[in-house]
């Protein structure tokens, strides 16, 4: 126990890395998801076919496998690219390999979430907005996107919770995240059990905080009409 307390500052660094990795991955995953959903909804068969291929492929591969593929394969790709462009060696850090792999995976899940949410919006609303003269960006910004957020939030919260747990695998390629640091510290202190229990507690805490935050957001974006008297 004293050992655990001694390592708290180091472990907190690990927590920061884990949270940063999760948040940055979520940001890019949201971007991939938005692009994917746009492609899937579009009437261009090439775009929607490509997105379908992307989501199907990703759902067939375990996160750990894709991570190793990105880390080792991506390094080779970067080397080839750099030598082709006549640049010096470029290295792919475990952190950014993790971001790429996790964002790529959860982007596919968010594609489905966003597409489902978009299809829940009654088409009459788009027509009504068009009748009011809204077009393009204005239409989406004022009418579809606010509702899309409402419908997508529960699914989005789910993906986030799974994504956070997924970041643990990045420790396998040497990232000093919470799991990576607890691994080393637990071995050094000869108390691995206590250190892993602490890791579990931190993940449960993150889960709990996220649940609370997402519930607040779901209330914020709940149907405003429900309050009309």
């Amino acid at each position: 126990m004293e050992n655990l307390i001694r390592y708290v500052p180091l472990l907190l660094n690990g927590v920061l890395v884990t949270v940063a990795l999760a948040l940055i991955s979520l940001l890019f995953a949201t971007l991939f998801g938005a692009l994917g959903a746009a492609g899937r909804i579009s009437r261009r068969p090439l775009a929607s076919g490509a997105v379908l291929l992307y989501t199907t492929l990703v759902r067939g591969i375990p996160d750990l496998v894709l991570l190793l593929l990105v880390y080792f394969g991506g390094q080779r790709l970067l080397n080839n690219l750099a030598s082709f462009l006549g640049l010096g060696p470029v290295s792919l850090s475990p952190f950014w390999a993790g971001v790429v792999a996790i964002a790529f995976i959860y982007g596919a899940y968010l594609t489905e979430t966003f597409r489902g949410a978009y299809q829940t919006i009654p088409h009459g609303q788009v027509e009504a907005a068009q009748a009011l003269g809204l077009r393009g960006f204005a239409l989406h910004w004022n009418v579809t996107i606010p509702q899309l957020i409402r419908f997508a939030l529960p699914g989005y919260a789910n993906v986030w919770q799974v994504l956070v747990k997924s970041t643990a695998v990045v420790s396998v390629i040497g990232l000093e995240d919470l799991v990576g640091i607890a691994n080393e510290a637990g071995k050094t202190a000869r108390e691995p059990f206590i250190f892993y229990m602490a890791v579990l507690a931190v993940y449960l805490f993150i889960t709990w905080i996220s649940t609370t935050l997402f519930e607040a957001m779901e209330r914020r974006y709940a149907v405003p009409l429900a309050h009309a008297r």
Binding site: G73, Q75, E191, L200
Partner: protein
Amino acid sequence: MRCRSPMRVDLILANWTLFAAGVWMTLQLTLLALLIGFCIALPAGLARARRQRFWSPLLQGYVYLFRGTPLLVQTYLIYYGLSQFAFVRESWAWLVLRDPWWCALIAFSLNSGAYATEIIRGAVETTPKGEAEAAMALGLSPRQRDFLVLIPSALRRALPQYGNEVVFMLHGSAVASVITLQDILGVGRTLNARFYLAYEGILTAALLYMAITFVLVGLFRMLERRYLRHMRPRSA
């Protein structure tokens, strides 16, 4: 410097027996974990759905712990963590707990059990009350009502979600490679390391996982077509 190396497909093909053994280990771990997990989840899910006074809160804690934390850390906890205690190392349980295969199986089973408990709880809770009433009207005993009516009905409706859990467990089983096991990913990593490859071994592993995933997804689609026939939208 060789700039663009061709894929070393020859090395993969020359070592196909390793991959076959890896597939076998992955399938073994996944299916056994699912089976044990299901045996935990059926009584646990029922107890949760019925708000059993003693078991329900305990099971809620179990489900929350295993669903809220990464499978990788759960596996580490059992494989590396338990060896911290001298009494574990000196007990008969050490025969099992020093073996990575058993540790992986225990971790995966407990994990799958937690997810399946939640799936079965949901399915039991959403069973229409009429089904229980109909069973009573037919004069079935409470036990008969559970085993002949409510459980089969709930399990059918749990099928789509359970299919997701099966794929999730298959993918989760790749964690076994981290504790030195030669499952599909383990073989891929070994090959990569032995021949200094960048991606061939892991790419092969990815393709194998994908193939197994699609077979499982197809299997569950078939099962759903058969067992959820009564819930398909009817055309007039």
